[in-house]
């Protein structure tokens, strides 16, 4: 007898079970509901019926604990095996470890921020369906940061550039980019946070963050990272579905919500894209073996999938975010411009840099036939020549930062057909001048200037004397970055020395 003909165990229909297990709230009578839930009206979003919320996965707490427990058991079995078998010695090259340093300092702290953010909106929505879903996501995000720190702690036993990740996230210049992205989302109202992180980041952009890191890890022999990545990613599918459900719920509740939601999608897709610049550089330059270029990933995960998604949302009057054309125009330039910025500012970053070798440059030419040989290879060749002459080029200038995304003004006028001209926008607010990397960042500022004038811009802070002093050694001390150990080029680093000893090359 096959399972098909066997009678399946009788149980409560999933829809009913979900309803019984999640609708646990009540209308308060001693206190006014608006006093108990003071944050879910000021953004202008109108909700007529919170019962309209449904989780398509119909996840309930009993199943949640069961499956999360199983995921963790599988993950820890592999983390242990990796450590027991000295997995750190089996990666393709120690340069790869810089990608992990970038992940732990730039991405893992965001998981914690997401945990805090979802816990907060789980408290602040008055509908119990979304509250339960957001509570689960808050616990997921906490699990992610813990498993990432735990997995990468094994690398910290051998390599530099991991030990002060939390301190660095709060202080180091380029880490203000991801940090301020989440600070921005967490200081918004609960609905904007939901669209910012739940929809724009988790649904539209998350594949561009995790899938490249994890397939990169698989390509470079890092079993532990593949495993924590996929373990986190298995929660991600549920988060994506929550984000999509949230946006449909808001759009179906009231037509007045549509323009507000569209504004948030436009803003947060751009904000998220700017953070992903770090991923583009990781994919194209930091992985010794690259499974896919940034451009290919963008075309696959954004251009192809997102079009399908927005076609689905068309009926509500939602359109593809206005920045999509800019991002597509920049896909041939992004990773090169960012890696060049890190190469020239490597003294102030706690991971190692290097020039792409011939093999890598040929790969880049193949992946970026319209731009790499024309604009970027000549610069690397010039810098290579300087290195050989013992004149390795470091920029001694601190760059102007964009007031909104906080990225150095490294982007060029690609969309206007002038890829060698630095893009620079400015505006005045309360008779003070503010600078931007792009029209999109300027628009975001002008829409909420009172918020963005408060940006903690690392370069401004250094010049104002808030970062330990104005010289590089003083700032590095304040960062807790050890000069000659955590920073500078891979070649000549203690990491390289150890790797060569492991490989019997020295």
């Amino acid at each position: 007898m096959t399972m098909n003909t066997q009678k399946r165990k009788k149980r409560l229909n999933m829809k009913d079970k979900y309803k019984h297990m999640t609708r646990l709230g009540w209308d308060t009578t001693y206190q006014d509901m608006d006093d108990v839930f003071p944050k879910d009206k000021f953004e202008g979003i109108v909700i007529h019926d919170w019962e309209g919320w449904e989780d398509p996965f119909r996840m309930t707490m009993d199943s949640y604990w069961k499956y999360q427990g199983e995921k963790d058991k599988k993950l820890y079995a592999i983390i242990d095996a990796f450590a027991q078998n000295n997995g750190q010695k089996n990666i393709t090259d120690a340069r790869y470890v810089s990608a992990l340093k970038l992940f732990l300092t730039g991405v893992s702290p965001l998981e914690y921020q997401a945990h805090r953010g979802f816990a907060d909106i789980a408290r602040n929505f008055r509908g119990d369906g979304p509250r339960v879903a957001c509570q689960m996501q808050a616990i997921d995000e906490l699990r992610h940061v813990q498993t990432q720190v735990h997995t990468l702690s094994h690398y910290n036993k051998y390599f530099n550039g991991f030990s002060e990740f939390a301190h660095w996230h709060d202080r180091v210049w380029y880490l203000s980019v991801p940090k301020s992205f989440f600070d921005d989302a967490r200081t918004a109202g609960p609905f904007e946070f939901m669209i910012a992180i739940g929809f724009s980041f988790e649904y539209v952009l998350t594949n561009l963050l995790f899938v490249p890191f994890m397939s990169g890890a698989a390509f470079n022999g890092d079993m532990a990272t593949v495993t924590f990545g996929f373990s986190a990613q298995s929660d991600e599918a549920r988060h994506m579905t929550l984000g999509l459900q949230a946006i449909k719920f808001l759009l179906e509740q009231d037509p007045a919500n549509v323009p507000i939601v569209q504004g948030w999608i436009d803003k947060w897709t751009w904000r998220g894209y700017k953070v992903l610049g770090l991923v583009s550089m990781m994919m194209d330059y930091m992985l010794p073996e690259s499974p896919q270029s940034w451009k290919e990933a963008w075309e696959l995960y954004f251009e192809e999938n997102t079009i399908a998604l927005f076609k689905d949302l068309e009926r509500y009057g939602i359109t593809v975010p206005d920045c999509a054309a800019t991002v597509s125009a920049e896909k041939d330039h992004l990773s090169h411009q960012i890696w060049m910025t890190f190469y020239t500012h490597a003294a102030a970053a706690p991971f190692h840099t290097w020039l792409p070798d011939e093999k890598k440059m040929d790969w880049l030419s193949e992946k970026y036939p319209d731009t790499f040989d024309k604009y970027y290879r000549p610069v690397y060749e010039h810098w290579g020549k300087l290195e050989k002459e013992g004149k390795r080029y470091y920029s001694e200038m601190l760059p102007q930062l964009c007031q909104t995304c906080q990225i150095p003004m490294l982007y060029t006028e690609v969309e206007a057909g002038k890829p060698t001209q630095i893009a620079h926008r400015q505006t005045k607010f309360n008779s003070e001048r503010f600078h931007f990397c792009s029209d999109h960042c300027k628009d975001i500022f002008e829409n909420e200037p009172e918020k963005y004038v408060q940006s903690w811009l690392p370069v401004h802070q250094i010049f104002q004397g808030n970062c330990g002093g104005s010289t590089l050694p003083e700032v590095l001390k304040w960062y807790k970055v050890e000069f000659g150990q955590d920073n500078l080029d891979y070649v000549g680093s203690p990491d390289q020395k150890m790797w060569k000893e492991w490989k019997g090359e020295e």
Binding site: M3, R8, K9, M214, Q233, A237
Partner: protein
């Protein structure tokens, strides 16, 4: 019509699920990528729990998909006997 897809970890638990998908969705496209398998189809893709159960010899709960799923594109509809992913356009 837009494409829906599921990406599953390339591990033992995924095999029967992928086999069931192929059986019940004739036009499905299967791609083996680094450490993962991507399954895509035009508009809609269904995993029927009884098909998976037949292949593994025990009852399979669609929520077990949680353990192997990496990412997806499309709307989700799930009940105790099926997991469906679809676009409305």
């Amino acid at each position: 019509m837009s494409k829906v897809f599921l990406a599953l970890q390339a591990i033992e638990e995924s095999r029967a699920i992928i086999e069931a998908i192929i059986k019940d969705n004739p036009d499905v496209e299967v791609e083996n990528q680094t450490a993962m398998t991507k399954v895509s189809a035009e508009g809609k893709l269904v995993i029927n729990a009884p098909t998976v159960s037949d292949l593994i010899g025990r009852e399979w709960d669609p929520q077990e998909l949680q353990l192997v799923l990496i990412t997806l594109a499309g709307n989700v509809d799930e009940d105790y006997d099926h997991f469906t992913i679809y676009w409305d356009n």
